[in-house]
């Protein structure tokens, strides 16, 4: 696969896989409004993934559709980072994950508005407004929980600790990103790091929480198709209908 297509595929898979995870919150949120909120965030990400996957099918010359790419690739062909594939855990973990991921995506899409690829630039311009709202939503929750009761503070703090090992991977300059950045289509993930961290740092401080920095291990390999245990289960659920009943419609 050409670097341009592989790069866009990584962005698409991040959005697609996280959309699938967020959909799991429907009927599991702390309140019904939050079921709807996380479903809406997931829907935005799914929309971004659809546009990006369609572009991948054009860029790699295979003419595969969004559905071909979403439902008929195997685990090793997915290029998402490990952060988004991790199982749904506590609400504190989810808000920590959403705060970090949306902060990363805000910087990413802001930079990609200047992409040499007109389609990618268009998707980025549209998506930036959406992920800005996601980041605001996560920010509101982190403030509320961190600066809330001792129990909510503790659980929000725990969420920040649990996502930490998965963050470095978001900002890794893998060879595909480097090639895409050199061509003007993409941006270097490392160039997004400082601004994203700056936002999270301000939110965490205002929420009377502490930003953990020490971790004994970190995730790697997502962009090369090497995933963690939860990924296979996620794909099984996401893909089984399309694979068991090809062409199914309703």
């Amino acid at each position: 696969m050409p670097a341009a297509a592989a790069y866009v595929l990584g962005l698409a898979d991040d959005a697609l896989v996280y959309a699938q995870r967020l959909g799991e919150w429907i009927s599991r949120g702390p309140q019904i409004e939050e079921d709807m909120a996380l479903a809406n965030v997931g829907l935005d990400l799914l929309g971004q993934a659809r546009a990006l996957l369609t572009r991948v099918g054009e860029l790699d010359g295979t003419d595969r559709s969004e559905d071909d790419l979403a439902y008929f690739r195997d685990e090793r062909e997915f290029r998402n980072v490990h952060l988004v594939e991790q199982e749904r855990a506590g609400f504190g973990f989810e808000m920590a994950r959403l705060l970090w991921f949306s902060s990363y995506q805000c910087e990413l899409y802001a930079a990609l508005r200047a992409s040499s690829d007109a389609v990618l630039a268009g998707v980025a311009e549209k998506a930036l407004k959406e992920v800005d709202y996601h980041r605001d939503h996560a920010t509101q929750w982190v403030l509320r929980l961190g600066d809330g009761t001792p129990e909510s503070h503790e659980r929000m703090q725990q969420g920040l600790v649990e996502v930490l090992p998965y963050l470095a991977e978001l900002f890794d300059d893998d060879p595909t990103s480097v090639a895409a950045a050199e061509s003007g289509l993409g941006v270097l993930p490392s160039s997004l790091h400082d601004s994203a961290v700056a936002h999270v740092t301000r939110v965490v401080a205002e929420a009377t929480l502490e930003l953990p920095t020490e971790t004994k291990w970190r995730s790697r390999g997502g962009r090369d198709g090497v995933h963690s245990r939860p990924m296979g289960y996620l794909l099984a659920e996401m893909q089984h209908l399309a694979r068991s009943h090809p062409g199914a419609q309703w």
Binding site: E33, E34, M36, A37, A39, N40, V41, L43, D44, L45, L46, G47, Q48, R50, A51, C106, E107, A110, A118, V119, A121, G122, V123, E125, K126, A127, L128, K129, E130, D132, Y133, D136, H137, T139, Q140, L143, R144, S195, A198, H199, R202, V203, E206
Partner: protein, 169 residues
């Protein structure tokens, strides 16, 4: 919306009159979803360009099918293009559209929400939105995400009615 044509043709107007599937009191032109209609009278062909409100908005597929249906009914062939840039904004919503939303019980988008990558608002949010029923500004947000991607849920503290707000984008 711009209609390009040698003469005024009803097909362009028919496109502009297509209602939004979620909020049928407003048309896709009122919402600013309809960006361009190019009419080729010789071939009885019409090119329609639309722009989505949100990337994942499920109404876009319905709108596309509705456009094709309206064209076919009038005996025209048609192509529908989706344009992502410039990105849709609630600024494109017409005054008539805003008024109709209000009459329907949905607070129209107010003001402009600036989007910058570094914008940080760290306070719990308090915004003033007038109740579409009684006009009171004494309302509060119940949920930032409502029944559709484009709406938030609020309640009026004067008349006690809950209502949808079209989010400013």
């Amino acid at each position: 919306m711009t209609a390009v044509s040698t003469t005024t043709v009803p097909v362009a107007q028919a496109m502009a009159d297509i209602p939004d599937p979620e909020v049928p009191v407003v048309t896709i032109e009122d919402l600013g979803i309809l960006r361009e209609v190019v009419v080729h009278e010789s071939g009885r062909h019409v090119e329609v360009t639309i722009t989505p409100t949100y990337s994942g908005c499920p109404a876009m597929d319905v709108i596309e099918r509705h456009i094709a249906h309206v064209a076919a009914k009038a005996g025209w062939s048609c192509t529908v293009k989706t344009r992502l840039s410039p990105a849709w904004t609630t600024d494109w919503m017409s005054e008539r559209g805003r008024e109709r939303l209000r009459e329907f019980g949905i607070a129209p988008p107010s003001g402009r929400r600036p989007v910058t990558a570094n914008r940080v608002s760290l306070s719990l949010q308090l915004r003033q939105v007038a109740c579409p029923r009684c006009g009171s500004a004494d309302t509060e947000e119940i949920a930032r995400f409502g029944s559709t991607a484009c709406k938030a849920l609020r309640r009026c503290l004067s008349c006690r009615e809950p209502f949808d707000e079209f989010k400013t984008l």
